[in-house]
């Protein structure tokens, strides 16, 4: 049975290094260039600081650093995704973000129990679109967790457990 795709199935897809990630578009308020971030002292290094978004002061997280990856300089492709959940608004900086796509639920697998690239608590699922793997993030869990998220980089089907 072909199920009609709804807004629930639309995602913004972005990249960190060569990995594709997706977040449900219903959680996303906007996508912008990175501008005017004011650093805040004495916070974990993955918090870039605060910025003004549509009149609100929101914190900005560098997602690379949140995943334990080394920081990279911003370039013209760097973007900030403003996520809104339960009255919280947070900005997330990623390497690039250009796509808004529908992912049919049939193409999504639940994350396997032992994920060696990123803890499965932080994933809603893994989508496979024409052999392109997109890790669908549970952004709520990521923002609410204070534990370390260690992303060991590059999802490769062939990769064996290290």
């Amino acid at each position: 049975m072909f199920n009609k795709l709804s807004e629930e199935d639309s995602y913004i897809v972005f990249q960190i290094d060569k990995t594709n990630f997706g977040i449900k578009s219903k959680w996303i308020q906007e996508l912008t260039m990175v501008e005017n971030i004011t650093p805040v002292p004495n916070v974990p290094s993955y918090i870039e600081g605060i910025t003004l978004s549509r009149g609100n002061v929101i914190p900005v997280i560098n997602l690379r650093m949140r995943f334990g990856l080394p920081k990279k300089d911003y370039d013209l492709k760097t973007r900030m995704i403003v996520v809104t959940l339960d009255n919280r608004k947070v900005g997330i900086i990623v390497d690039s973000a250009r796509e808004y796509i529908y992912i049919p639920p049939e193409k999504i697998q639940p994350p396997p129990e032992r994920m060696f690239t990123i803890s499965s608590n932080f994933l809603e699922g893994i989508a496979n679109l024409d052999n392109r793997i997109i890790l669908l993030l549970n952004i709520k869990a990521i923002l609410e967790s204070s534990e370390e998220i260690n992303f060991t980089g590059g999802f490769d089907y062939e990769k064996k457990e290290k």
């Binding site: 005017n36 004011t38 650093p39 805040v40 002292p41 004495n42 916070v43 918090i47 605060i50 910025t51 003004l52 002061v57 929101i58 914190p59 997280i61 339960d86 009255n87 919280r88 608004k89 947070v90 923002l143 609410e144």
Partner: protein, 638 residues
């Protein structure tokens, strides 16, 4: 033009309906108090309100609202004339009708589907025996038509509605009624004049002579229905032939106020630029000229401050209007709970910024909801405990200093620490039950997003997720929440700032960054040379007056590594009174008025950071609460 006109016309419609609904709800409350002894005028007012909403809805084309208010009006007509007495069932139907009417109007506002009216319309019809009603109306209209006093003529009647008039219950409906007494209304058209004011134009045909006299007490403009040219000429010569006592109040769109505040902000910035320019002219002007300019700038400063204060006061509204709206909902909640609870409200006149008042309703209602469902015990339990069988919920507001306190208290059960602890442990919010050792900790847990007591089907469920949202909202308003509980009372206190904070701040630089420090906490600013600093163990001191002053480097507090090719001259902010200390920064740049924007995200909770502000260029700078340093960072004792 048409679209805008209609939109603002609709906005007026919503605003008017809102007012009428508020009056309706007030009257329903009066009705409820004793249905066997209905106070004078209640039925009349209710009838008029429904009648007005009906008319307005007809004009704007919201048929469901028109139909529903027609039925409600019919029922009220019977009650008003004494043909029927109100019963508990009738009261219930009335309440449901009003709720549905509200929903219909909200649906129109939000462009959503209208709720289904069939049931409530039927209930109302059953109450009123529709036929009898229609018959009455027909009789009335017939009577009017039978007055034949001369040949039939047509007139144009213009009526400009306004808030003052509507406060006197003089609105388009009344005018229509009055006109119908004298003739037949052929047409009513809403229009807009050159000043963008909305008015209603009635075309009335009548046989009455001297229509002018009959209508002389009405605030209308009457002109014979002639060709366009003649009508316009006549209008120019005619004046409004009425004088109504004016009320002292006007309604203002709060966005206009916000706009004015922004302009005021610009004025303040311009004034400080002027001060800056004046300073740079020092020495280039004669002493007298300089003095004169300074006086002028001082004057400007004073007036700007006064203006700012006035604006702040304009935005203040009494919390009573919020309490009134809440009463209706709370009484519903109490009724549904089947518990015996009385509501006591005090502090209606306490004033708060309008923006804050608007956002308080949901949090306050949530706390009351909890008090009704979980706080107040059922009657038998209360009697067993020796408490008054009637439970009490108190809603209080009062001002103290720069803050407004809003309290929601109930005399029910104490909040059980051990139960909260158990649940918190289950949810993984704490690691050990002993962590829950104070009401602050209990409150923290209650406000945690994962802690929810939503297991029963509360009527209001689906709206927000518990105390977490309450805390969030209070935070965003720059306020605080406190809890006190014992076996005789549980009280939630909301402490809110009187206004959205605009303060004077000292702007400083540290390395590449600017920060703002509230002027009120800085006692003095002095300049030092880093060579003069004396280190004594791990304390740094500088000579100050006839004493020494312990100092702390802001760069160290913030773990900021700044290249040391800076000048050795630094500015020091002296903070505190009895236990004064100095905070070393690079330079004090200026004094500025700033708006505090709170930072509420849990990711950024640093007691040193009071908030952020936008200096006007879209870039935020942090506002520092350096006062806090006296509590921890500064080692002040040897």
């Amino acid at each position: 033009m048409d679209k805008n006109f209609f939109e603002s016309f609709l906005e007026d419609y919503f605003a008017e309906c809102d007012e009428h609904l508020t009056s309706i709800k007030k009257n329903l409350l009066k009705l409820e108090e004793d249905i066997n002894n209905v106070p004078k005028g209640v039925y009349d007012e209710l009838f008029r309100s429904f009648h007005t909403i009906k008319g307005l809805s007809a004009m704007v084309g919201v048929a469901p609202a028109e139909n529903l208010s027609h039925e409600l009006e019919s029922y009220l007509k019977l009650l008003k004339s004494g043909a029927q007495n109100i019963t508990l069932e009738g009261l219930d139907v009335l309440r449901e009708g009003v709720r549905t009417l509200e929903d219909v109007i909200i649906a129109k506002k939000e462009n959503k589907d209208f709720p289904d009216l069939e049931k409530i319309l039927e209930k109302l019809r059953n109450l009123t025996q529709k036929d009898a009603d229609l018959q009455n109306e027909k009789d009335d209209t017939k009577k009017i038509r039978e007055e034949k006093l001369g040949e039939e003529r047509k007139y144009i009647v213009k009526f400009f509605p306004s808030k003052e008039l509507s406060e006197k219950n003089i609105n388009v409906e009344l005018i229509k009624q009055k006109l119908e007494e004298f003739g037949k209304i052929e047409k009513v058209t809403p229009k807009v004049d050159e000043n963008k004011k909305i008015y209603f134009e009635f075309v009335i045909s009548t046989q009455k002579e001297n229509l002018e006299d009959s209508l002389k007490d009405l605030p209308i403009i009457l002109t014979p229905y002639k060709t366009l040219e003649e009508t316009e000429k006549k209008e120019e010569r005619r004046e409004k032939t009425f004088s109504m006592p004016t009320s002292n109040y006007i309604r203002v769109d709060i966005r206009k106020l916000d706009n004015l505040m922004t302009i005021l902000g610009e004025l303040v910035i311009t004034k400080s630029r002027l001060e800056g320019n004046l300073r740079s002219l020092k020495g280039k002007l004669s002493y007298q000229d300089e003095k004169k300019l300074q006086e002028t700038v001082k004057s400007l400063d004073k007036y700007l401050r006064d203006l700012r204060e006035s604006f702040t006061r304009i935005r203040l509204v009494p919390i009573g209007e919020l309490f009134e709206r809440m009463q209706f909902v709370i009484k519903d909640l109490i009724r549904e709970s089947n518990k015996n609870i009385a509501l006591e409200i005090s502090g209606y006149d306490t004033e708060l910024d309008k923006y804050i008042v608007e956002r308080l309703m949901d949090p306050l209602l949530h706390i009351v909801r909890n008090a009704v469902s979980h706080g107040i015990e059922p009657e038998e339990e209360r009697i067993k405990k020796g408490k008054d069988p009637v439970g009490k919920i108190y809603l209080r507001a009062y001002t103290s200093g720069d803050n407004v306190y809003v309290e929601v208290e109930n005399d029910g059960r104490e909040i059980d620490f051990s139960q909260v602890a158990k649940k918190a442990l289950e949810l993984g919010l704490i690691k050990d039950i002993t962590e829950v050792d104070s009401t602050e900790k209990v409150l923290d847990i209650l406000c945690h997003p994962d802690f929810s007591t939503r297991d029963s089907a509360d009527r209001a469920s689906g709206r927000g997720v518990g105390m977490a949202v309450v805390k969030q909202t209070i935070n965003e308003l720059g306020g605080k929440l406190f809890l006190k509980t014992d076996k005789n009372s549980t009280c939630f206190t909301l402490v809110l700032p009187l206004t959205l904070a605009i303060i004077d701040a000292i702007i400083i630089t540290l390395g590449e960054q600017n920060f703002a420090v509230p002027e009120s906490i800085v006692r003095e600013i002095i300049e030092i040379n880093t060579d003069d600093v004396i280190k004594f163990g791990n304390i740094s001191l500088i000579p100050f007056r006839h004493d020494t002053l312990p100092i702390v480097y802001l760069s160290e507090v913030f773990n900021l590594k700044i290249e040391d090719n800076r000048s050795k001259r630094r500015h020091v902010l002296v903070i505190g009174d009895k236990k004064a200390f100095g905070v070393v920064v690079d330079k004090v740049v200026t004094l500025k008025e700033i708006v505090i924007r709170p930072i509420n995200d849990p990711l950024i909770q640093n007691p040193l950071i009071l908030g952020a502000t936008d200096l006007g260029d879209g870039k935020l700078i942090l506002i520092l609460n350096l006062d806090y340093l006296s509590k921890s960072e500064v080692k002040l004792s040897v």
